[in-house]
């Protein structure tokens, strides 16, 4: 039986684990949703430079008073850290496409075992547009997916082959869910960490994708820091 987790625990567990991936000085773009929470969990002593595609290098937390002239990609007001820079969209996407970002953290509709990512369009439903996502997954050195393990209806999001239109082909480097962490190593999806209380059998039951299990499989890092 998979453990029952509150939405808060799920969101912060995923964000906390992803935040442990970064090194001092890494340049990182965070998408909206769970990825936004990653900045709350950066370990002490690690300076991550957050980039927002609308033109900030060195984005800081929401200021005490809103100034609508400084916003993030999701429209929330933000601060610019001392030492930050404001840039135009062409420069911002030059940084993104040009390989100057260490990582991008995004949500997913589907990820498949080949590292394909779909997160921009459900044909017949919404046509939101890809925004900056296609550029981000093309240019960032590491594409980190932050997603719940299944859809709200319990359908697997980690699948054999994406049925939805792709955002990028063979781009994903890491997937973190509330149950597990998978890394793509030489094109192969590898289970490296599993959350406490989740058995390998439980995990197989909610994962359609085929993966190999690391010989160093461990308990998912950061779960021991959860308050409840």
């Amino acid at each position: 039986m998979l453990p029952v987790l509150s939405e808060e625990v799920v969101r912060h567990r995923i964000a906390r684990r992803i935040a442990m991936e970064f090194e001092d000085g890494d340049v990182v773009n965070l998408g909206i949703g769970i990825p936004t929470l990653v900045s709350d969990h950066i370990p002490e002593g690690v300076r991550v430079i957050f980039q927002t595609e609308n033109g900030v290098v060195g984005a800081g937390p929401k200021p005490p008073e809103d100034d609508l002239r400084f916003i993030g990609a999701g429209g929330r007001c933000l601060s610019v850290i001392p030492g930050g820079a404001l840039i135009a969209s062409d420069f911002s996407f030059g940084l993104i496409r040009g390989g100057h970002l260490d990582a991008t953290v995004l949500g997913a509709l589907q990820v498949d075992q080949e590292g394909n990512l779909a997160n921009w369009w459900i044909p017949g439903k919404l046509v939101p547009g890809m925004g900056g996502a296609m550029d981000l997954v093309t240019g960032a050195k590491h594409v980190i997916v932050a997603t719940t393990h299944t859809t709200k209806k319990g359908q697997p999001k980690l699948v054999k082959k994406c049925s939805l239109p792709l955002t990028g082909a063979k781009v994903v480097s890491l997937v973190v869910t509330e149950y597990a962490l998978f890394r793509f190593v030489d094109g192969q999806m590898v289970l490296e960490e599993i959350a406490p209380g989740v058995t390998e059998e439980d995990l197989k039951g909610v994962t359609e994708a085929e993966y190999v299990t690391s010989s160093n499989l461990s308990i998912m890092k950061g779960c021991d820091e959860e308050q409840n």
């Binding site: 916003i71 840039i87 046509v127 925004g131 550029d135 239109p165």
Partner: protein, 229 residues
């Protein structure tokens, strides 16, 4: 309109009279930031129709150029994201709106190509996805690139922070976004700003958009977003 050295300062109402029905119009902004709200609201008021709107997104139904879409003044949208404006989705689904979605980085490069005399740009963005369909793909040193063609417009409405009478512009905060690129890619460029200074009052070191690109200056108004962004 001939470009003069000293740029005319007009009301938004006068300025948007230069936009004819059927024009292609670039409008700066990302989400609700950096939109030339006063100009856009005047264009909504003027009711100019059959426009091709070239903007990163279509804002919200009742915010900025989102209103141009929701009020049926737009026949075609070229954008990277339209998810926040329900009217865009609805009109597209009803077959009343043409929609061309472009990845955001490719979108701004197309505008840059249009403004800076390039025949197009080659980008890896979108390769291996449905976006590639119908586009020319060119392989260079073993990597595949999509050929993105230039975008130009009849008019660009842009949002600066301060101008001088030559039309030189500086920007503020995250309002900059697509505005400098668009300033180079349209036949007529109308800039909305917080303040218009005398020639010499802007430090040339700070100028981002040189005044030779700007045709008309308009001071921002006091509507909710115009006054706060």
């Amino acid at each position: 309109m001939p470009t003069k050295v000293i740029k005319p300062v007009m009301s938004a109402e006068e300025a948007v009279k230069h936009i004819k029905p059927g024009s292609s119009v670039m409008i700066g902004g990302f989400n609700y930031g950096g939109i030339p709200y006063t100009l856009v609201e005047a264009l909504v008021e003027a009711g100019t129709s059959d426009l091709t709107l070239i903007a990163n997104d279509t804002a919200y139904d009742d915010v900025g150029h989102g209103k141009l879409v929701s009020r049926g003044q737009v026949k075609k949208v070229i954008a990277s994201h339209v998810g926040l404006n329900k009217s865009t989705q609805r009109l597209f689904n009803e077959g009343k709106l043409e929609l061309e979605l472009v990845p955001q980085g490719s979108f701004v490069e197309r505008i840059r190509a249009g403004g800076f005399g390039l025949g197009g740009v080659l980008t890896p963005t979108g390769v291996g996805t449905v976006y590639e369909e119908g586009k020319q793909v060119i392989e260079i040193e073993g990597r595949r690139y999509i050929l993105e063609l230039p975008l130009k417009a009849d008019v660009a409405l842009i949002r600066g922070y301060r101008a001088d009478r030559y039309g030189n512009l500086v920007y503020f905060g995250t309002n900059r976004n697509f505005n400098p690129a668009m300033a180079a890619a349209a036949d007529l460029v109308i800039a909305e700003v917080d303040a218009i200074l005398e020639v010499g009052e802007l430090d040339p070191n700070d100028v981002v958009t040189p005044g030779i690109l700007v045709d008309i200056l308009v001071l921002k108004g006091d509507s909710y977003y115009a006054s706060r962004t």
